[in-house]
Symmetry: C2
């Protein structure tokens, strides 16, 4: 996601469109990127550290973006996606 | 995120670049969008249902994309973003 101090015109456009579309009560919208990485084998601390390094050096532009790395349970995703 | 059956050239490009960059053991990469919505007041079931509707009708293209809606704890984000 873009850092809070970086202007996000895409998010602002979405936010400004919402009341017109009948959705109130949303005070801010930010748009960003999301990467899903499928890892061979178990995701232990070493693998997670490597992925964090990868995110920091290649996937995110850390001058203007923050990132978080999170492990997802495939079963949980299957449940959530309808 | 793009549905599993939809080709994701951006994700593929990232995946193919990884071994060259010294990152092995990643079998798949998918790239997608992420929206952070700041809600006025508490996020109860009614608000969540509205947001799900909003995601389905305006933020995602459900012909080619799946989406998940998740409530984030601001404290948790502050912790994760270093």
């Amino acid at each position: 996601m873009l850092k809070p101090e970086i202007l996000d015109p895409q998010g602002q456009a979405v936010q400004r469109a919402l009341p017109r579309l009948g959705f109130d009560g949303i005070s801010d919208v930010r748009q960003g990127k999301r990467f899903e990485l499928e890892v061979d084998g178990p995701v232990d601390d070493a693998v997670l550290a490597r992925i964090r390094e990868l995110a920091e050096s290649f996937l995110a532009n850390t001058v203007i973006e923050d990132f978080t790395v999170r492990v997802e349970d495939p079963a949980e995703i299957a449940e959530a996606v309808k």
